[in-house]
Symmetry: C2
Subunit: 237 residues, 2 copies
């Protein structure tokens, strides 16, 4: 057995990059580590995978423990397995990202994380372990995905204005988009539902609210068309 045993002296974990959008910036939810190693440092929420737990289930559990949310968008991204990435032993970690609506929950004050807090993704530069690398991979994957599938709506409240939607995509794609062209494109897909409600209490002409209509989207796809928002080839100078 001895030989084989050494293969079983390793553990795996999941780390979950939880993205949110506050209307201006793309945010990521980080926790402050309460124990060694990297005590006091900010890190991605994550945990070891239980022996009888599927990977996806572990990622969902981490998310639920921190936010109380279930059934939100979750996607596996990449596995990080450098020999020395964890100081205490061989731990490979499977990175996931999830997309949540920031308003849907308050960060659990008394969970396994002493402190949890939203950070603007661009302002995060230093994290425990190799988490900065994990964050970058998930950020990139999100960007890819956002161009091809309507995952953006997972980050928005059920009712949003077209300007907010555009702001979101500008964050996700890291580029400016031209207002009229963006509206034309998104409306031409006919996957949004125009709501009766309009903005209130703003010091200017109030905007109409829209909602994402999953049924219409499915129909759009069934017609062989595809969701496709991309950065313009030539930017406006």
């Amino acid at each position: 057995m001895g030989e084989v045993d050494s293969f079983f002296k390793s553990a795996f974990s999941v780390d979950n990059v939880i993205f949110g959008f506050d209307g201006g910036d793309l945010k990521v939810l980080l926790i402050q580590r309460g124990a060694a190693p990297f005590q006091g440092k900010w890190a991605l929420p994550g945990d070891l995978v239980y022996p009888n737990e599927d990977l996806d289930a572990a990622a969902e559990r981490v998310l639920a423990q921190l936010t109380g949310l279930r059934g939100v968008y979750l996607e596996q991204v990449k596995t990080f397995g450098a020999v020395n990435r964890h100081p205490l032993g061989r731990v490979i970690t499977v990175a996931y990202f999830s997309l949540v609506k920031i308003a849907d929950f308050k960060v659990a004050p008394a969970s396994f994380a002493q402190t949890a807090q939203w950070f603007s993704v661009e302002k995060v530069h230093d994290l425990a372990f190799d988490h900065i690398e994990i964050l970058a991979a998930c950020r990139y994957q999100l960007q890819l995905k956002a161009k091809m599938e309507p995952v953006g709506f997972e980050l928005l409240p059920p009712k949003f204005t077209l300007t907010k939607l555009q702001n979101l995509y500008e964050c996700l794609l890291q580029t400016k988009l031209e207002k009229r062209n963006f509206r034309k494109k998104i409306l031409s897909m006919d996957i949004l539902q125009e709501l009766e409600e309009i903005q209130e209490g703003v010091a200017h002409r109030p905007a109409r609210y829209y909602g994402f209509d999953r049924e219409r989207y499915d129909q759009y796809i069934a017609e062989g068309l595809s969701f496709d928002i991309r950065e313009p080839k030539r930017q406006t100078a």
Copy 2:
């Protein structure tokens, strides 16, 4: 220790989907298992990751053991970790795919695999473990990647005709492409080198050979342009 120990009763492996192209079909290199479980069944080449071995290194090792090749295109795709995916214990596996030129090697006759053989990807329906699922994920990822980056050339010999290149992309994208438009598009990128050599011994007008020119490609990218071969929206009826 007992509690923590149970987290270390697991192992990880890599599985490598090795793709090749024979001019007509997209192929995958499979091995026939010599030991239980799934003895005699065809499977993806893979192995447990050594305790002090990085994940990528393990994938490279598996490839080298089977083919003798080093330094070929290799990409991590996804990790499979269902609790019962391996009958002998908890083993999660990290799936990779690699792209090789079939002519570059003979399948090693005396490696850890008793038998190894190329199969047309479409004809593979039944594999050991969850390998069919892994194959599908890698196939899909390859298709995605082939549209956005010039990975196709990894599957072709250094000299190829435009028709062969088109055949390859038709396989990868699983669609027919229009000859003149395909040539126009690929040539307009100016990333191919037109060689002096032309076909010999064919019973028709001989075609010119081309080679992929990495330098020109880098320059193309540096200009802010991007490789982009995609399936047409409306197929020719």
